[in-house]
Every structure is written in C-alpha cells, then in structure tokens.
C-alpha cells in the first residue's frame, strides 16, 4: 500500500476540529484551536483510513492527502 502524507492548509483551516476528533493520532490543535498535521505529516501504517476520514469530513476542505 502506498504511503500517505497529510497536510493542513493554514489559509483554509478555521478550527472546526473535526480532524482532531476523528484522527487524534494524526492531527494536533494550536492555542486557537486550528489544526496541524503531527510531525511531517507521514501517516503511520494502519492509520490510512483515519487520514481519509479526516479529509472527507473537513468542512473547509483544508486537508490534503497525498500518496507517496
């Protein structure tokens, strides 16, 4: 399976925090509640479904998932 990488576009994120709720292993929130990918955004094996789940639930379409 291809490795996935996630990135939260800071110009689009409005802090709905859906990603953090669905995939706390992959996202963290800053002091304003805006989301950031943890580390360099590499999705550990086994968490691919959660990455896609977060992406498809973001109301601002702010999460990019790329296959490496």
């Amino acid at each position: 399976m291809a490795k996935l990488k996630i990135h939260v576009d800071q110009d689009k994120c409005q802090g709905h925090a859906r990603c953090k709720s669905l995939a706390p292993e992959l996202f963290e929130l800053d002091e304003y509640g805006n989301a950031h990918e943890i580390g360099d955004g590499t999705v550990p094996a086994g968490l691919e479904d959660k990455a896609w789940l977060a992406q498809t639930n973001c109301p601002e379409i702010a999460i990019e998932v790329t296959e490496e």
């Binding site: 409005q14 802090g15 709905h16 925090a17 859906r18 953090k20 709720s21 929130l29 002091e31 304003y32 509640g33 789940l53 498809t56 639930n57 973001c58 109301p59 601002e60 379409i61």
Partner: protein, 405 residues
C-alpha cells in the same frame, strides 16, 4: 377608501420561490419541503420582504457567500423587518476583515476542545441535577426542564455570572432573536438591559478580580498593548450569552425530539455509546439550528445568480446541510454517516467560536439523558412547538418516560 392598517405585516406566503418568509408559521413548523422547493427552483432565491433579501439554497451557494467577505458584510447578522443604523456591535460575529481576526483570536483559546474537557464534569453534573428534578414524575417538558438549562448554566459558569440568573438570560434571548425580528423597541430594550447587567459585573471585577471569561476579556490587550474598549468587551459578552444559549438548547432539543420518535437510533446509541460523536455530527447536520445573515455590499454573482447591494442574505446553513448534491439521503438521519462535511457551525472566518462547547454540551446532555432515561417518547397529550426565525429548535417538548404499552 381602504384602511390597510389591519393587515398583518407578514401576509401568508403563497409563492415561496419569489416571496419566501422565514417567519411564516409553515416554515417554523417544517421548513424542509420548503427548502427543497426553493433549491429545485434556483441556487439563490429572493424575496421583497425584509426590505429585500436573498437566500442561497444549495450547499455550494451558501459556501460561496460564507467565504466571500469582499461582497458580503457581517455587520447585520439577523434578517429583520428593519435595518436601523445603530445596531449593537458584538465582535467578532458582527466584524468584517481586518477587524475580525484580532477580535476572534481573543475568544478562541478559552473554547478549544481541551478547555472544554475541563468544563465537562460541571456540565455532566448540571445534567444530572436537572434530571433529578423530574425523573420521578415519569414525564417532563424536555425543552423547559432540561435542554434549555444545560447551555445557560454552562455559559454562566464560564462567564462567571450566577447560574440562577438563567431566566432573565432566556427572556433577553427570546426578545432579541425572535421578537426582535419584527419589534425593534423590544430588541433595543433587551440589548440595553443586557449591557447594564454586564456593566455591573465588569465594575465588580474592577474591585475584585475573578477567574472567569469576563475577567479574561477585561484583561485582553490588542496588538499595541491597549485594553479593549468597554464597548468591545460588552459586545463580546452579549454575543457569548446570546450565541451560547438557545443555539445549543435547540440542538439538544431537536436531538431528543428525533430520538423520542426513532427507537432504533435510541437503542443503537444505548448499545453502542462509542457511536455518539458520529451521531452528534449527524444530528447537527440534520437539525442545524442556526441561520445567519449577511448584507450585500457590492454587486456579484453567486452560483450564476446576480446578487445586488441593498439586500440582506438569509444564510441558511441548515438548508445547505439538507442539499442532496452533497449529502446522499439528505433528509434521512443516518447516525453512522461517515462523510459529513456539514456546515452547522458555519463556514469560513465566522466559524462558530463555541462549536467545541456546543459539541461537548450536546454529547454530555444526550449521554446523561440516555443513561438515566433510555426509553422515552413524545407525549401524545402534549404539543411540540418550534422557535421562529434565526435559531430553530423545540421550545415545548413533552415527553413520557419508559416503554410504550
């Protein structure tokens, strides 16, 4: 000679597509078929009522307007019969860029999910204190006895104002959000009373500082190190109280209303408590309580429809959330819906600052209710009534507890 003074200001609607009215009793009772009719007709519809007002009917048109702060202003956030110049500002909800961002950033840290986790035990206790008061009766009006009080007490706790003042807060909110659409005097009186109330609390804190949200706002500094003006602090406090109460009251109420008449969903949530976060998002989508407003500042085109200045916009996030182009089976409540980009808390820079609070309150209020009262149904002897206008939710919700015989 004709005397028109006896005519109601809002005659019943006969042509929804060209003359919609979100205060019409049929809209209040069941807006969903009306929205379907409007959406089928056009992505943006218009009415001459409310001095001229558009309504985007699709998710895409709502999204375009919510993201477009160049052509649409937030300075008036309620569609009303009148547009007086001096409306009370309530930053950041009534702010446009560039004033919006600094005003919003002041309010965000106290409302993060982590901050809400600290408040959660108090909210759980509030829910159980309320249930204790009526569970032995075997029935209750869940709107009057439960859903209303959870958010009032929670926001009072956060602001550091007495939970026992709840009734007066609820009166102001009814006067501003419902009566205020058609009655400017009532609205202005309520705004004035709220301002006086909070001014008193600010004065007290100048002498005796406390550890609460009012003090946080009083101590906030702008980029140049200056404290916020009293007007800004009072406006934000009015916003938090108004926005923090009947919105979540409505969302919890609509959720319980749905569960009362849908035993399969109720049983599943009791059996699978881990499903609650997903179910809460679906209930937020299907019964989104909050409709916002914008004012058109410059001519533009939305989803192919020309939009002209001088008009308001009824920004219906609830209608967007029922758009079948984005949500398959949009009119069905699917409590394990996997893909759900719902817009219940708005889209763009004005995303509800209290969304994490609302989610926590909804989750806790439903969990505690289901633990204590796993079986309940609408009382056929009573009547469910819904609020009119900007925030939609049950205001009477008579329930019977236990299995039907």
């Amino acid at each position: 000679m004709s005397d028109v003074s006896y005519l109601p200001k809002h005659p019943p609607v006969t042509d929804w597509v060209n003359d919609f009215d979100h205060t019409d009793p049929r809209w209040t009772e069941n807006p969903y078929p009306i929205w379907d009719e409007l959406r089928t007709a056009s992505p943006v519809v218009h009415t001459d009522r409310f001095l001229g007002c558009y309504m985007p009917t699709t998710y895409e048109a709502v999204r375009e307007i919510a993201h477009d702060t160049e052509h649409f202003s937030s300075r008036r956030v309620i569609v009303r019969d009148v547009r007086p110049e001096a409306t009370g500002v309530a930053p950041p909800i009534t702010s446009d860029p560039p004033q919006h961002k600094p005003a919003k950033q002041l309010l965000l840290p106290p409302f993060t999910p982590d901050a809400m986790k600290k408040l959660e035990p108090r909210v759980r206790a509030i829910c159980n204190e309320l249930i204790d008061e009526f569970i032995a009766d075997g029935k209750c009006d869940a709107a009057a006895r439960y859903t209303k009080h959870v958010p009032v007490r929670a926001i009072a706790h956060m602001l550091g104002i007495p939970e026992k003042d709840s009734d007066i807060f609820i009166k102001w909110i009814h006067e501003i959000l419902e009566l205020g659409i058609k009655d400017d005097d009532t609205m202005m009186r309520a705004v004035h009373e709220m301002t006086e109330y909070f001014a008193g609390h600010i004065e007290q804190r100048k002498k005796h500082p406390t550890d609460d949200l009012i003090t946080t706002l009083m101590n906030a500094r702008d980029k140049s190190g200056q404290p916020l003006s009293d007007g800004h602090v009072l406006g934000s406090l009015r916003l938090l109280l108004i926005a923090g109460i009947d919105t979540t009251w409505s969302a919890i109420g609509a959720s319980l209303w749905h569960l009362a008449k849908t035993p399969a969903d109720r049983d599943r949530l009791v059996a699978e408590p881990a499903l609650m976060p997903t179910a809460v998002e679906e209930l937020l989508r299907a019964y989104s309580p909050v409709t916002m407003a914008r004012e058109v500042m410059k001519e533009t085109v939305i989803s192919g429809c020309p939009v002209k200045p001088g008009n308001m916009v009824l920004l219906s996030f609830p209608a967007a959330n029922r758009d079948p182009a984005v949500f398959p089976d949009a009119d069905k409540v699917v409590i394990d819906r996997k893909e759900n980009r719902h817009a219940a808390f708005g889209l763009g820079i004005h995303r509800c600052v209290g969304s994490n609070l609302a989610r926590m309150e909804m989750t806790v209020a439903l969990e505690e209710w289901l633990k204590r009262i796993p079986d309940f149904r609408l009382d056929p002897a009573g009547q469910v009534t819904w609020s009119e206008g900007t925030v939609r939710g049950p205001r009477q919700l008579p329930m019977l507890f236990g299995k039907a015989h």
